[in-house]
């Protein structure tokens, strides 16, 4: 059961009552956390998004001004464009790689666990500062990529210092971390009953047909789960853009992912009111993407229960 399918089935779970007292004590830390660390700040940020607040003076209520300001904030619009490009390109590519390699690995390859580790490792370290630093060097003017290109007589360029390629290095970094969804796909592939493949073979289905008519439908809930989570995840990418651009989002704001812009507004300029409004914009965007995903899932996700 994934988070996604749990949410789908929440309606149908049985009603309860009875262990109230014990439940209260077991849930006490979680309750405090929910109210003090999560829900409280959530409400507070909604309030702050309608104020002008710089941490020093008390917040002053300015109505929807922060939200109106967004429409004329060119850096924000640029940042949104960069972020959409990043999410819409890197997530499907990442999942495609993950699925392809999972299927490749699933069919009884020797040394499966070794390969799985090799492909999984990047997803564990891909979000670290160290790898972002490495990326900066690999795609720098004198970096590894250009050294290889020079070997073939191709003149490279500063992939990270030119505005039209910088974001693509970050997209590549996110695709590079395809190991986590790959492992989830592998686990999912093992749940597909072998009898389905046998039946398909008896019906004369080739490899491709088996993939289209058995593997894909059976795996579609997991593809959906990965898609929803990776999109949410990608919208929040921060470290890589921060380190690669030295905290600026440059060159020419071309790596200004949304969270980096929010960080700059909130924690560099201490424009806490506007930063809160931006945070809510992010929630709305992620919410919209997730809602569209759930709506679209009716047409392509196959639940056999």
């Amino acid at each position: 059961m994934s988070v996604v399918s749990e949410l789908r089935e929440l309606k149908s779970s049985p009603k309860g009552g009875g262990d109230g007292k014990a439940a209260f004590w077991f849930l006490l830390p979680w309750f405090i956390g929910l109210f003090a660390i999560t829900a409280g700040p959530l409400v507070a940020s909604l309030f702050l998004s309608f104020t002008d607040y710089n941490l020093l003076q008390a917040p002053s209520f300015i109505g929807v001004e922060n939200f109106v300001r967004m429409f004329t904030d060119e850096r924000l619009l640029k940042s949104l464009g960069v972020t959409f490009l990043y999410v819409i390109v890197s997530v499907p590519l990442q999942l495609a790689f993950a699925l392809a390699l999972a299927i490749f690995l699933d069919r009884g390859v020797r040394g499966l666990s070794f390969y799985r580790s090799v492909f999984y490792l990047p997803s564990l370290i891909g979000g670290s500062v160290a790898i972002a630093v490495l990326w900066r060097v690999v795609f720098g003017t004198e970096g590894l990529v250009n050294q290889f290109l020079a070997f073939f007589g191709i003149a490279g360029k500063g992939w990270i210092s030119s505005p039209d390629t910088a974001i693509w290095t970050l997209i590549l970094l996110n695709v590079w971390a395809f190991g986590a969804p790959m492992v989830i796909f592998l686990a999912g592939l093992r749940q597909v009953p072998a009898s389905l493949y046998e039946a398909a073979q008896i019906d004369g289905a080739g490899k491709w047909r088996q993939f289209r008519s058995v593997t894909l439908p059976m795996l579609s809930p997991i593809i959906f789960f990965n898609l929803v989570l990776q999109i949410i995840h990608a919208f929040q990418s921060f470290t890589q853009a921060f380190v690669v651009s030295g905290g600026t989002g440059g060159p020419a704001d071309s790596t200004m992912l949304f969270s980096l812009y929010l960080y700059q507004r909130g924690f560099r300029n201490f424009d806490m009111g506007y930063a809160s409004a931006l945070a809510w914009l992010l929630v709305l965007i992620i919410g919209a993407f997730t809602a569209i995903n759930f709506w679209a899932s009716k047409y392509w996700v196959f639940y056999d229960d």
Partner: protein
């Protein structure tokens, strides 16, 4: 549960239909091609990381001229230089990271398991509602609460302490792990609880003496994921820790590249590798738990 299905699937899915020599050839060559492709993909993926390891052992002026993985000299100067390049020896930052990681692990293990037991085993009013709220918090972006959280923690004087990073974990805010443990506890036979209850055990005893010991794999998964995520964390550390003596390994590595002029790349590579080493070791020894965790939460 997955292990058995693998064993059952493997032989049936490999094509054993004898039909013509062309297919026979393909059957023999197929695996070889497959291995070549897999090795190539793996090599391309890990090449930059391997190159970083090799380059960290090269003299500084040789790093940018050499894309190969061949090491002509073995030079640990970079590590010595890097270790001492910042305000404090690098070990200090590693210890700081470790303190935060340990605090977060303890916090997650205790608070998430308590909450998970309640969600998995107890009946209480509006349980569905609370459970739904918990699931939603998994998907909530941190940014939407970080601003008020920062304001709150700075007003009680917690900035430049590790409390803003650890205390939330003691309050089960990493709902992902609550969910993971709920899934796991649901798989433990209820008969065990009921037998204990007949013997007069209350929920506290059932939790500590029956559920906890059986939950070790889920606790292992939680420990390892918490370790890796906290160790790699950058955003919240960047926000809450501004004093050099509080800096973590992530923040320290970033300091290297911040001083943009004449960066000592050998030293940067050395310390980058040092900062990745704990994650790598945890991955190596905890892989079983990682994969198990993914299998329990990732599947439908």
């Amino acid at each position: 549960m997955t292990e058995t299905s693998v064993i059952l699937n493997a032989p049936t899915r490999a094509t054993r239909t004898p039909a013509g020599s062309a297919r026979e050839v393909r059957r023999r060559i197929g695996p070889v091609v497959k291995h070549i492709v897999l090795i190539l993909v793996g090599l391309i993926m890990l090449y930059p990381v391997l190159w970083m390891v090799v380059s960290s052992l090269r003299p500084n002026d040789a790093i940018f001229g050499d894309p190969s993985l061949i090491l002509k000299t073995f030079d640990i100067d970079n590590y010595v230089n890097g270790w001492n390049a910042l305000t404090y020896p690098f070990g200090k930052y590693l210890i700081n990271s470790m303190i935060i990681v340990l605090g977060c692990i303890v916090g997650n293990l205790v608070s998430c398991s308590l909450a998970a037991y309640a969600f998995a085993r107890l009946n209480f009013k509006s349980k569905r509602w609370w459970f739904g709220a918990m699931l939603v918090t998994i998907m909530l972006p941190i940014h939407v609460i970080i601003v008020p959280q920062y304001i709150m923690f700075s007003q009680i004087g917690w900035v430049n302490t590790y409390l803003p990073l650890i205390v939330p974990k003691l309050l089960a805010t990493d709902a992902f792990f609550v969910f993971l443990m709920v899934q796991f506890i649901r798989g433990i036979p209820r008969e065990l609880d009921e037998a204990a209850r007949i013997d007069g055990a209350g929920h506290a005893r059932i939790f500590f003496q029956i559920i906890m010991p059986l939950m070790v794999p889920a606790l292992g998964t939680t420990t390892i994921f918490t370790f890796i995520w906290t160790w790699n964390d950058f955003f919240s550390q960047l926000i809450y820790l501004t004093k050099p003596e509080m800096a973590t390994a992530s923040l320290a590595v970033r300091q290297f590249v911040d001083a943009q002029s004449a960066t000592d790349w050998g030293a940067v590579f050395g310390m980058s590798i040092v900062s990745l080493l704990p994650v790598f070791l945890v991955f190596l020894f905890g892989q079983r738990f990682l994969l198990q965790g993914i299998a329990t939460t990732g599947g439908k």
